[in-house]
Amino acid sequence: MEQILNWVTENQQIIYVVILMIFVGIEVIGRVPSVLHTPLMSGANAIHGVVIIGAIIVMGKADPDNYLALTLGFFAVVLGMVNVVGGFVVTDRMLEMFKKKK
């Protein structure tokens, strides 16, 4: 029990960030029209590509002799980058079509 309480105090910053972000996330898209559901999903999809930062850190910290870590990390960077770049480009392509309508 004490361990858990300790953990809460030690990580309170992170816990605050998580809780606030949940509310921000809900608030920010609360009034989206259904027409934009698909582009919004695609945009959010690109944003979670931020996981690539973790991949870069893994890769950069890996021991140059540890080929398993290097290979896995390399794949992580490639996949993360596909997610980020592909996600933003696809979203842009979708929204480009909406633009003409005005």
């Binding site: 919004l40 945009g43 944003i47 870069i56 870590a69 596909v82």
Partner: protein, 468 residues
């Protein structure tokens, strides 16, 4: 000093993510919002590469060649895939990218665990292992699920459901979680991690397999928020605020978006996941047997009826998307308008495979946005419409949603096409739509069927109308 700059980079990136999402939910600013978020992402990535210092050793990152190699290869693949994809295939592309993100999170967990296990000198922190395991499970479920969703949308994977499937799924998931908990307590059984990986992948596959194709957008949106949470796990692991904010933001927004999508289809999330819709029990709807005779109409008659109408409403559906008929559809609209016919499009919020799918398609064909009516507007206008032309739509015009409480789509808002004077339905055959139920609209006296591939029919129709 450099650490402070990195902190500021991450702060900027987090703010752009929030702003980007906010702008994405408004049609006027959506495109800019996407660019804002992309800019923030670039700042975060570049900042990490050049400014990040290892907490333990205080060194900058190594292996630049590998990192840049990966970034360049991934960037090229992503750009090409995103540029080449057909507009109709957008949903599966999003699913594919989502899977990549999930896989990336799972790989990070794998490497970090090995890294942790290799250090025998220090006591392994249980909370670190917990986060690694959670990231691994969520990431791999998201990866496997997205791959199946991708396969389903492009028709490579068929629906598969059998008795007791839900129970089996839960068992697989429970086993993964129990093993995960055990590993957190006993981190030295490192092989267990691979068993957990395997079970999570299996769960991802089993979880999506029985869900009908019509519900795929909802599933993709859900998996999207899963990947967000997996990314946030990385944020915990490295105490990295930008991963944390970005991940949780998408996790929360994605969950809400999933619920909104369900609402637009008037279905509950539970319903989607357990899969009664488009699943195996299609025989539930009462009176689903053929309700008598339907009437066929010839091309030339259709052309005649349409060119003498004063107001025509086009109802596009998935059939239009599959046949890539959006350009021919616009062509028909132009020809009719030249003849003095007023043409409008009635867009059901969930027509096609994703909300907004039809808007994107028709916009691609340069259809004027003002001609697209949303459901409420369209429903007001049907009573003054002479001809409704339904192109490959089915469930969104099925009156059973209003009249038959036993129908699986009962309660879903539909387009009231029956109010119009004449209804012409273009379909490839009499086969039921995605919900797998009969549509009594087709048997109404007002309704005529025009069979054939939407694109071909529209082209022939254009030629025919030009000649009359």
């Amino acid at each position: 000093m450099t650490q402070d700059i990195l902190t500021i980079c991450y702060l900027i990136a987090s703010i752009t993510f929030i702003l980007g999402l906010k702008m994405l939910s408004n049609p006027a600013s959506a495109r800019k919002g996407n660019s804002v978020a992309a800019l923030g992402m670039s700042i975060a990535i570049l900042g990490t590469i050049f400014l990040y210092k290892n907490d333990e050793t205080g060194e900058y990152l190594n292996n630049y060649a590998w990192i840049f190699g990966g970034l360049i290869i991934g960037g090229i693949i992503g750009t090409l895939a995103a540029k080449k994809v057909q507009m109709t295939a957008m949903p599966e592309m999003v699913s594919l990218f989502n899977g990549m993100g999930g896989a990336c999170a799972a790989l990070i967990s794998l490497v970090e665990f090995n890294h942790l296990a290799a250090e025998t000198t220090v006591v392994i922190s249980h909370s670190k292992v917990l986060i690694i395991v959670v990231g691994l499970i969520i990431g791999s479920v998201s990866f496997a699920g997205s791959m199946i969703a991708w396969g389903k949308l492009n028709g490579r994977v068929k629906d598969l459901s059998f008795k007791g499937q839900n129970i089996l799924n839960l068992l697989v998931l429970a086993l993964a979680l129990v093993l995960g908990a055990y590993l957190v307590m006993q981190p030295h059984h490192s092989l267990l991690l691979y068993v957990i990986l395997l079970l999570s992948l299996l769960y991802g596959i089993f979880f999506v397999l029985p869900i009908g194709g019509a519900d795929m957008p909802v599933v993709i949106s859900l998996l999207n928020s899963f990947t967000g949470v997996a990314a946030a796990c990385g944020g915990f692991l490295y105490n990295n605020k930008v991963m944390l904010t970005g991940g949780i933001l998408v996790g929360a927004a994605g969950t809400l978006l999933t619920i909104l999508m369900c609402k637009a289809m008037n279905r509950s999330l539970k319903n989607v996941l357990i899969g009664s819709f488009g699943g195996n029990n299609t025989a539930v709807s009462s009176g689903a047997t053929s309700q008598g005779h339907y009437k066929e109409i010839s091309l030339s008659d259709t052309a005649m009826v349409m060119s003498y109408a004063s107001k025509v409403m086009i109802v596009p559906g998935y059939g239009l998307a599959v046949a890539q008929a959006q350009h021919s559809c616009h062509e028909l609209e132009k020809i009719l308008t030249e003849k003095g016919v007023e043409v409008r499009y009635a867009i059901h919020p969930v027509a096609g495979r994703m909300p907004g799918h039809m808007n994107v398609l028709l916009a691609e064909a340069d259809v004027n946005y003002e001609k697209l009516l949303e459901m409420e507007q369209a429903n007001e206008e049907f009573s003054t419409t002479d001809v409704v032309l339904i192109l490959g739509a089915n469930d969104v015009v099925n009156p059973a949603a209003k009249t038959d409480p036993a129908s699986p789509i009962y309660g879903m808002p539909i387009l009231d096409v029956e109010l119009a004077k004449t209804v012409i339905v273009n379909k490839r055959s009499m086969k039921p739509g995605y919900a797998g139920i009969e549509n009594e609209l087709f048997f109404k006296p007002k309704t005529s069927m025009l069979f054939g591939d939407a694109k071909k029919v529209l082209q022939d129709l254009c030629a025919e109308i030009k000649n009359t």
